[in-house]
């Protein structure tokens, strides 16, 4: 798998930004990606050293649609979150903007 297929996008949320203070950066990754794949991908794309990776599979939320007569229900896609801890002193910037820092 190509590095850019493994890493789907950075997660830019309050919680993710809080993690950046302790060298932990959060990404949305391919649901089938392994920690090893993620490590290689991150190191390749951002030229940093990864110390630790935590992953978690996030189940998509159930959604009900009540539209005229027909009531259907569905589910948002499942996805995988990876929290990458970088070597001290390193950081990740995207297009010159460090999204993860306040």
């Amino acid at each position: 798998m190509d590095a850019r297929d493994v890493i789907i996008s950075p997660r830019i949320t309050e919680k993710a930004m809080a993690g950046a203070l302790t060298q932990q950066y959060s990404f949305v990754v391919h649901p089938h990606a392994t920690k090893t794949q993620i490590r290689h991908a991150i190191e390749e794309i951002f030229k940093v050293n990864v110390i630790k990776i935590n992953t978690v599979n996030v189940g998509g939320k159930k959604r009900n649609f009540a539209r005229s007569a027909k009531r259907t229900s569905g589910k948002q896609s499942d996805w995988k979150k990876a929290i990458v801890t970088l070597k001290a002193g390193q950081k990740i910037e995207l297009g010159g903007v460090n999204y993860f820092e306040q």
Binding site: R11, I12, T13, E14, A16, M17, V97, Y99, Q102
Partner: protein, 437 residues
């Protein structure tokens, strides 16, 4: 707050240009406040409202919105402070222009504004002498009494030829060159027979007729008659007189006095009338005195008038004329046609008067300031009360409706108090017949 430096440049006697430099800290602190406010309404997934970091906000919405919001706060504030710093009295909203920072120069505001001219007040005390109060003559009282009697007159049918002053019941059909015209017809109309109530010739033609008689009356529409198609036409009215009624005045006695005003006797009524006439005369004299003072003031003072104020006055006069036309049921264009003027000409006509009014207002305000005349809360309350009575609303409501206009209400109070003060000064000056220093 940071001191901000501003400079004033006089463009004319009543116009200045302010250059206000804004410090960087001031702008950035205002931007921070603006951002805090904006972020509360910003919706970005992953962040609670108000918790959005500035960097993300700028990525999403751009920096210009923060900047412009900050300027909205900073600019009026800076303008107000500059006005205070230089002790200017603007008479209108300024024209502002923002000059962005460049080459180390901070952001600058250029504001052009009309200011109150500096007025060097000349003598304004005891400018006019009040006229000797005129005693109310017996004839005047009699005349009002007669007018009162006329209001309560009764009509009594009489059997004699009609004469001027009688009331007559008539049918008439008017025609011009044998053709009846619109509005020239009436049946059983009761009307007072007086020459100035009808077109010339009509009333004169009816005088002398007895009831039951019919006659052709020749009358001539005046050339300036309001209906153009009838103006300057000779008309013949076929008139039938049904009844002649004489005006019978009630006897002026104690009973009459009671009915008219609830007074005890004719004497009391006369006294009452005399008092009322005297009051009217007094207020008239007071007003005349005020006008005299005003004229003198206008004559003896000369200063440049802010064009903005004059223009505003002209606009308000035009507005008055417009609503006047509206009340008459005439369209604005028709009204302009009827006085043979274009709007621009009318504007030019209003100018001298508008200038006079503005000058008067400025003078009065300057005098009020010099004499330390203020509108006290009690004055405002009294004014609100009278407005409340005028509109039949509680004064709290009026206060609310006025909002910021209370300030101009207060200005008005100061003006009328100053005018009163000037009039009093004249009266006092005349009483002691020595110039008041």
């Amino acid at each position: 707050m940071h001191p901000l430096s501003s400079t004033v440049q006089k463009l004319g006697p009543t116009e200045v240009e302010l250059q206000i430099r804004l410090s960087q800290e001031e702008i950035s602190s205002a931007e921070e406040r603006a951002f805090k406010k904006l972020s509360r309404n910003a919706k970005v997934p992953g962040f609670r409202p108000g918790k959005l970091p500035r960097k993300i906000f700028e990525q999403q919405y751009g920096t210009s919105i923060i900047n412009s919001r900050a300027m909205e706060e900073v600019v009026p504030d800076a303008y107000r402070r500059a006005i205070r710093e230089h002790n200017l009295e603007p008479v209108e909203r300024p024209q502002m222009e923002l000059v962005p920072a460049e080459d180390g120069n901070p952001v600058t505001i250029k504001a052009k504004v009309s200011v109150r001219p500096t007025i060097s007040l000349g003598e304004y005390r005891g400018l006019a002498t009040p006229a000797e109060p005129q005693a109310i003559s017996d004839q005047e009282v009699e005349r009002s009494l007669r007018a009162l009697a006329h209001e309560r007159a009764t009509l009594v049918p009489v059997d004699r030829p009609a004469k001027v002053g009688d009331y007559v019941v008539v049918d008439y059909v008017g025609s011009i060159d044998g053709v009846p015209f619109d509005g020239g017809k009436a049946e059983g109309q009761t009307t007072e027979l007086s020459e100035d109530r009808f077109i010339p010739g009509f009333a004169r033609g009816i005088t002398g007729m007895s009831s039951g008689q019919s006659k052709d009356v020749h009358a001539h529409f005046p050339p300036d008659y309001s209906k153009q198609e009838l103006a300057d036409k000779k008309a013949i009215f076929a008139v039938t007189l049904h009844e002649v009624k004489e005006v019978e005045l009630p006897p002026i006695d104690d009973e009459f006095a009671k009915a008219v005003s609830g007074s005890e006797s004719v004497w009391a009524l006369k006294d009452d009338i005399r008092r009322r006439l005297a009051a009217v005369a007094r207020s008239k004299a007071r007003k005349a005195l005020g006008d005299q003072i005003m004229d003198k003031l206008l004559e003896t003072h000369e200063f440049a008038l802010p064009t903005a104020m004059v223009d505003r006055e002209i606009e308000s006069m035009l507005g008055d004329a417009r609503s006047f036309a509206g009340r008459m049921g005439v369209g604005w264009d028709d009204y302009l046609n009827s006085i043979h003027k274009t709007e621009a000409e009318l504007r030019a006509d209003f100018r001298p008067d508008a200038e006079k009014r503005v000058k008067g207002t400025l003078l009065i305000e300057a005098i009020g300031k010099a004499e330390n005349i203020h509108a006290t809360p009690a004055d405002v309350a009294a004014e609100l009360q009278s407005l409340a009575e005028q509109y039949g609303q509680p004064s709290d409501r009026i206060r609310q409706a006025l909002g910021n206009n209370v300030l101009s209400l207060m200005d008005g109070i100061v003006r009328s108090k100053t005018m009163d003060w000037l009039i009093e000064q004249s009266e006092v000056g005349a009483a002691t017949s020595a110039p008041v220093e």
